[in-house]
Symmetry: C2
Subunit: 342 residues, 2 copies
DNA sequence: CTGAAAGCGCTTACAG
DNA sequence: CTGAAAGCGCTTACAG
């Protein structure tokens, strides 16, 4: 019925090439813009007839509601910030896509932020504020002040595999110390008496936890141990192992801060014609895929990534719904992998 | 000077707990809201005095401009969608954070989307439309129709390591066929005459390209070859290699679709007491870290990830600035890694 | 250099 | 069930 009027009507859409808005759909469907809006809101009361007209018009125009505009008014962006460090260990990058799969089920998307050694966390937080994210999942170091900034903003924050014992903040992690203790016990039962621990970087709380587990358990058994400081990399594993081989005596077992270093350790021992586990035993930590390959069959502790990811997502979603929920720390036990390296 | 007036002024901010807006800052600084806005726009003409007042007020209130509101009016979200598949090969997850580092320099952020076998790409594209992204980087299969949908929307699209020869769309990739040919030539020069190709999944265009390179070059040398169909996984590498070992005769060389399969191949050969490269040679493709570890020292082609990432970002940014730019395909040569497995 | 005003594309009481 | 209207927090001509 409506005539193709000229541009004197301020509701006339710029038909050419512009993306369709709810007004465009409303005009085509012959309903009000509010009606269109309701059709895209689940649970809104719209008659079947209206809904059908709108659906048709929307399809024709390729209309999709503008999430940006919606976010402005609902104050829910359905975006969660994921903060990771630039130099990720072998299993961390995977975490991002796994998180995404879980969050996607709730129509929530991930906006990615990386912090490097030179990039200031303050700058990253400012950017996060700008995007009005509904929550933050962090697998990067936050200072207490930075944690407080999130709290003050009312943005829920959950840490993934970060140790924040001294702060009342939600975390999901793996019980690193406990896992290492299981490994030590196993080694002791197999007769190991002298240990070399190849530790991870000093500035990693996770690495310190693993070291603490090793130290405490070896002391508990009143056995001897020496610690060499590595940094999680293959190269540091090679270097430290070679250092031990070149030394006066070989230990019974190498306890490595992660699987990558353990693999480096095995490679280096074999390169020196030492048999693993006959001459020396080696254990790692993480349960990375490579460790299970035939060449290594690493004895290690596998982190329950699935459970951890799931817990992270559900803890964050709960707190997005109810910001007053108290902080919670969830620690999962790792799974002992009975490989052939110990 | 200003009295603490009541709530009769509609500009009064909800002081308690609400996030500060430009109006709040304007009131505190004693300037107009437009002035505040200008202070956060680089290059806008604001007096030093105003700028200073605004800065102070903004700091006090912890104000950060709302990127959502800004995006609504500027029609630039400064968000780029990155679409990846759920089951990523070993080096793909890293891509995401590398892309992010490059894009962050331009104040652009990544909104992550994963597509799985069951999740419809149509749904993902709808979600992408909703977030008004400025561009799309895809490392997942798009149909021609889906590519056209992006074009129709006016959203620039760049593919990362995807072969789309039959479509006028921008892509960045590695010359897989050429890389394999280099490997074959090298093997031939070392005396290899009979080849077994462990191929990747049929539905991967990259895998088909690598297979094509192998086939063509082996035929060029008029040598014999047999192809066994794998799927990029370690397990398929083990299975196929074992199949060959159990067969009547051993080839001179295994040409594997990727490094992971090549590593599986080496492990399996060694498990059967065959020496690499003395008894059989093995080559891979990708240049993953693990391949360079001592146990393998894989002869392979390394993809120039840095260059590829950089090219992807710059091609996309150019097209965000000027959507009329023609599609472009950039193919980088891989780097021959002279390992010890061939 | 500055402020008043319009408008980006939605959601949501409100009245019918 | 439906429509008119206000408003989310910005940017940007426009006039001064």
């Amino acid at each position: 019925m409506e005539k193709n009027s000229g541009n004197n009507n301020k509701l006339v859409p710029q038909v050419s090439s512009k993306r369709a808005t709810s007004y465009d759909v409303a005009r085509l469907a012959g309903v009000s813009q509010s009606a269109v809006s309701r059709c895209f809101k689940t649970g809104a009361s719209v008659s079947v007839k209206t809904r059908e007209k709108v659906r048709k018009a929307a399809d024709e125009l390729g209309y999709q509601p503008n999430a940006i505009a919606r976010g402005l008014i609902t104050r829910r962006s359905n975006i969660v910030a994921v903060v990771i460090t630039e130099f990720t260990t072998l299993n961390y990058p995977e975490m991002t896509s796994r998180l995404n799969e879980h969050l996607a089920k709730h129509d929530i998307h991930i906006l990615l932020f990386t912090v490097g050694p030179q990039s200031d966390m303050t700058v990253v937080l400012d950017q996060i504020w700008q995007y009005q994210v509904d929550g933050i999942i962090a697998s990067a170091p936050f200072s207490e002040a930075e944690i407080q900034r999130c709290a003050k903003r009312g943005i829920p924050l959950v840490f993934y595999n970060r140790i924040c014992n001294d702060s009342a903040v939600s975390t999901v992690g793996c019980d690193h110390a406990e896992g290492v203790k299981i490994l030590i016990d196993r080694l002791v039962r197999d007769g190991a008496k002298r240990f070399v621990v190849l530790s991870g970087p000093d500035d990693s709380a996770v690495a310190r936890e693993r070291l603490r587990g090793a130290t405490e358990q070896i002391e508990l058994h009143r056995l001897s141990m020496s610690v060499l400081g590595g940094d999680y990399t293959y190269e540091s594993g090679v270097r430290l192992t070679q250092q031990v081989i070149d030394g006066s005596s070989l230990p019974d077992a190498f306890v490595c801060a992660n699987d990558v270093m353990a693999i480096a350790c095995i490679d280096t021992l074999r390169g020196a014609d030492l048999a693993v586990p006959e001459d020396v035993k080696v254990v790692g930590f993480d349960g990375i895929t490579v460790g299970q390959w035939h060449a290594y069959q690493l004895t290690t502790i596998e982190q329950p990534l699935d459970r951890m990811i799931e817990a992270t997502v559900s803890m964050l979603l709960e707190r997005i719904e109810d910001i007053t929920l108290p902080a919670e720390k969830r620690l999962f036990a790792g799974k002992y992998i009975d490989g052939a390296s110990a």
